[in-house]
Symmetry: D3
Subunit: 308 residues, 6 copies
């Protein structure tokens, strides 16, 4: 998509003359979430923080998380009573390629010029330029997943086309995209090897909206997403894991992988009914066999992981 020499965001245009005098340091967005608030509301974060104060799930954990499935995340979060962390109903760009990264959140709302004029004037004051989708995209870090609330908008709800999708891929090192909205240039996007989850596709560029927040709490489907959540996407949908649960999710997943390995091995022998093996072996002897297998494999995994 080329847009040289034309202004696709006509509705973002504004006259400064009608603006009130802004007498305080202006914040560049309608909805703000100061850094201290971010720290307060993610106080259970056990990790370091990024310069923008988002929790920083460590790189090594992000790598381990590439083997996670939705079910493994569900298992731990359900125990903790976190039942609102999963969103689905997306078109999945590359089925079979797991998405993992730290949530970088962006919110749009339907434009109304009285509000947008003020926001743009404040942006001019504070960051020296207008606010639009690329404002957020320019802030992305390696390991981020761009998570965007465009309230399900299709026409004019296209957060990126293939050029910006290419840029997001570069900037996040293949992190990913989740948008409760649409994308454009699907043919071009399909050739780029970054995971993406979107509601729909449309040929129009983004428009008739205003950027209202960056790294604020946003809602995607039935999830309140916090900046810095670990985003895990598979063929089914997307989980947003609060940082304080990441370690446990990963450790429990190790056990589950071994459990599934053993269960399928047993089933493949063809000697057992499903109830004799799964969810837990019914006979004491089988149970013992499983537990020894689990222990051995866990040891192997830990050695292999430490050996890396």
């Amino acid at each position: 998509m080329k847009l040289i020499g034309r202004i696709p965001f006509l509705n973002w245009f504004f006259f400064f003359s009608a603006l009130p005098l802004l007498t305080r340091p202006a914040s560049p967005q309608l909805i703000t979430f100061p850094k201290q608030e971010l720290i307060d509301y993610t106080a259970q974060n056990p990790f370091d923080r990024l310069p923008d104060r988002r929790p920083k799930v460590p790189e090594a954990m992000i790598e381990r998380a590439r083997d996670l499935s939705s079910e493994e995340v569900w298992e731990v979060l359900e125990e903790k009573g976190y039942n609102n962390q999963y969103a689905d109903g997306f078109q999945v760009l590359h089925a079979g390629k797991t998405m993992v990264g730290r949530a970088f959140t962006v919110q749009f709302m339907p434009v109304r010029e009285d509000v947008n004029k003020v926001a743009q004037a404040k942006a001019k004051q504070s960051i020296g330029k207008r606010l639009f989708n690329q404002t957020a995209i320019d802030m992305l870090q390696p390991g981020d997943v761009l998570v965007v609330d465009l309230f399900g908008k299709k026409v004019g709800g296209t957060i990126v086309g293939d050029n910006l999708f290419f840029f997001v891929n570069q900037a996040t090192k293949g992190g990913g995209l989740v948008v409760d909205g649409s994308v454009r240039d699907l043919d071009g996007i399909s050739e780029i090897d970054m995971p993406a989850y979107f509601r729909s596709v449309d040929p129009t560029p983004i428009g008739n909206v205003m950027l209202t927040g960056i790294n604020i709490p946003i809602r995607i489907g039935n999830v309140t997403v916090m900046p810095g959540d670990l985003v895990v996407g598979d063929r089914e949908g997307v989980y947003f894991v609060p940082p304080q649960f990441v370690q446990e999710v990963l450790d429990r997943a190790d056990e589950t992988h071994i459990h599934d390995e053993w269960t399928k091995k047993k089933f493949a022998e063809g000697k057992y009914k499903s109830t004799e093996i799964y969810g837990s072996p019914s006979e004491p002897k089988l149970k013992q066999e499983y537990e020894e297998y689990l222990k051995k494999r866990l040891d192997e995994i830990h050695k292999q992981r430490n050996g890396k």
Copy 2:
């Protein structure tokens, strides 16, 4: 609905012990919109402000607005380029009864306990009690319309039942309710003469959500609603009118009423084709007749209004 002696909002329960020390004056909601921001972003408001700083569309205009229809609001806003101020798709409680009032906005998001615990602790510090739907309801003023973003939630998205609906009616002097969510106790609510617009009805009480903002900008359908907008609801849907356009909407509506009066009178004579009369009389003589009628009736209306 009676809830004596039981706690329906179990998910709001929290332990203070795990909370971070809050070293700053806490704001009682996840999403805040300071009074100065509210003033900045509604700078075009030509009227006084309420104590909470919302624009205060005058009472007399609210009364005049009871004769407005969606089309009359559309006419002015479309000219101004405000195409995102209308929401529909609601169940309308009392068809034929126009709703008019000042927007009092409330936002909920899906609960997550790590965030909610902090919000409730901050609420405890700043307002001395927990945050929930009644926190907002207790703040309503006469002339308000309660406008609630419950993200279309049906089960557990019931902002009020008949008792609280009764209270809202008392507090707002019959203002009204718009909820992108549900209500309960519909039989009881139907007996109370306040306009209401809701997506669905459910027997469950509100739950699995957290109150995240009061009098902040919220989204209802394709509208960014600002606190203090004039809310106008008819049989079709709901318009949110920025205060700076209220006067013009009302004055133009006077002309439209007269125009329609005259047009129907002419049609009733049975002598004309529709194109000869509507939208504007085609013959000079008819046009003149209309203009004289318009002038006369406008004078009458103004006299009558001033005479009140």
Copy 3:
């Protein structure tokens, strides 16, 4: 709705300069259906024709048809093998008020300026003015039902507001409206006592469409509607009855009314199982009783009808 001094149909605007020279008598619509075609394709019509060549179901039959229900029409058409004459899924303006009249059909399609320019130029040549919704509305006759294909369009798919609805009511003598599209000014429309069936309601005026045919075959839901069909609408939906079946539908409905009268009378006695009475009495004696009742009541109806 008032539209004085402004042009709501901006997209209908056109420059004649770019037009091809039209060397033949121009027809004023994209899709034409010459009068001879109309006669050929409704050759089974047993009645007179209107000046525009539509079949003219007689006024007396229209009056009798006010007692019809969807089921009574279904019964005859199903026997004839006409299974595609019923459309539902409408909002019904006045539940309980039966709509009956002769179909006056109108078709719109999405506007494209290259086509519309030519159509408007042809209209200018042949009828001296532009084509738009009022062009059709001005042609309505007493006893007509205006049937409009606006392909389910909501925004900009509003065939009439309250002024034109008022005019349609005048022109058709309360005939009615069926639109696979929307209306506006619902509050105003609700006060006018003409039946109407529409898909949705919107505050915008009609726009982004072009009028492509008047009194041509159109599709409403799963029905191919022919100009002059008898339109019968009840609480459930709308039947389009080919003129050749109107007499039989009415005569059979007389019997059905008597059958239902008798059946309910019998049920009210409380002595019979439903299977003993309905659909047809199982006992010979009851059957005879019914047949005598039927004969007597038919005689009464015929006398009463002739006596009028």
Copy 4:
């Protein structure tokens, strides 16, 4: 609807010649639920049973239940852990008229002739006639609500028209109808004062289905309905209350009515915030006032009820 002399259920037609010899006492339906099973599976029923072994919620309780709302039923069932007893999404025939009665359940499935032939032959043997919707309707008792699984079918899913609806009203003494399917003759039905809940309306008669069970467990929406459940329908939807909870639901509703009475009275005084009164008075003095009021009013109600 009249069907004299014609056979609307052509698909029910069958040839006996191809049938297997039936060597056992045949049960007349595809899915059977013997009387002992019905007794076993409703073992918690505290009341008498009807001759067909369904639990018989007493007439007096049915009368008291006419004041219930969905919320009052929800309150008790939620406490008991019964979260699957509510169905909604129906068209409600007479809004504002509560439906109460004992569930009489009927199940249909899509017809397949190999199965239907056998079922009809068995019916011929055991009950002497074919199975169809009237078979069930003839078995209705006063106080019953007819609850029908027609799997959401619209065309051909019409359990009754106005004649049979009239009969059901007679037979059940105004009990009611819930159908996960459709009805026909809506104009006629609307004139009969019995509550009804249906998914849609269609002019076709029932067809392309076979009756597969009477007074068996069926599914309506997300509810497993048992024969004899107390059915309670209001403006919102329908609750199916297991008989063992009816007494408690009714007693708790008495308290709720008084609670709401008092709460609204207090709100009407205009002196209190909503949180001071509702769900439970916050001040000890108010609490005491409420408790005295509750006690007094309960006494009055009990006296009045006993006095009847």
Copy 5:
């Protein structure tokens, strides 16, 4: 998915103490379909029966059926008047891989504890353990397709995850799965080469339901599925073929394959209009050519098949 040491089916928990004394041999499900009934209702079955009395379409026919398409099944069933044997609207796991096998049916309904307690007690008595999804899965035979009515349930409607899907594949020798409900572990399931048709995918395990029948007649979409039906699934949807029609379907498909082979060969020559060749050659000479081709190819196929 690992579930060791936890009980995911909490809602299946029950206390025996409250149970009625069961004085008869208990049947282990709410809905029963005795073996004799199964035989009676599938009396037209021309084949042997499995030990559980389901019709046993022979293995050789199952193999031949792997070349069937939906259209070829439609052709025969439509002639027989069986219009309710096709279901679609599924997610298809492995597009392009035909599913063929004998229907093994399972039914779930929404749980209600009063009923479930009794069912589980009866199960304890008769089969010595509780009833749940694995009860049915353990009974699968080679050549079966597991067909499950979970009434479209998504959350908690997951009949299997990857472990049980692996087991079903083992037990049925790659038969297949049709569920009017969901699956979980889609990433894992995708790696297993068994056909599957499901409505949706969810990370939750099965829950809030009770198993109510095994090898009973069930409804999937608009089909009444009988145990032992031949299930044929392609890219479009799933056909359930009564055993008595299998032979004819297969033989007619042979002719259709040859017909299509010849038709496309002729089209590829580029000399003919479509109407000259298809559905049946219009010229006598072409017709003769086709008939000779058909005969020759049928002979070849029969020889090849017999030679196997």
Copy 6:
């Protein structure tokens, strides 16, 4: 699909005896669009015409258009004010394979026998045979895309199965198919390398419809399609480009391809923010670099194209 010896279109059957005498040269379709009308309404066509008078976008342009994406078409049409030329919501047969060709339009409507009888009699008179889907298919030319209005019909809305799809592919030289309706034989169709866009798939053959127009203006989604429009389909949807804009669309796309090439090259260097490069370079030096690159690459493309 084989249909030898049977008549699948029973509803097309008709008796000539009841027909009116047709005294004029009969047109073979209900809706006609004479050649002169086609020429008038596509007067802006800058190219030659096909023998049937449709605009003939040159073969070379069709080839160049194979590199177009929806966004590139959108860009030019939006500037021209043509906002109704795009349709989506289709199932796309071969994702990643662009469809390009000249629109050959066909319209069906729900059958009604009174109308169909006349149409078939007229067809008999004028073309010597009955009208049905193959009538249109036999008229296809190389480079055509078959565009069919079957009003979203699924059951009986199957314009082709694999045999006719094979023929369409032969006749159009791989042009393509767009149907607002369905196809059958999806397994067979999937093996044929022609692009296709359809709403759904069904095993039934086409039926319960009548062919009402060939190469007339039709509506597909929100597009008025004119015969001869350039049809461009990608992964997202289908654009119908009026011939007068084809040249500009192609030329602008060249620039866009180069722009995207350069933008991604710059992004890949990792030195720039997205706003520095895209939509247009912000620094003068970068801008100059881009403009030189654009000029150089355009020259290369033009040389390469001319050199072909």
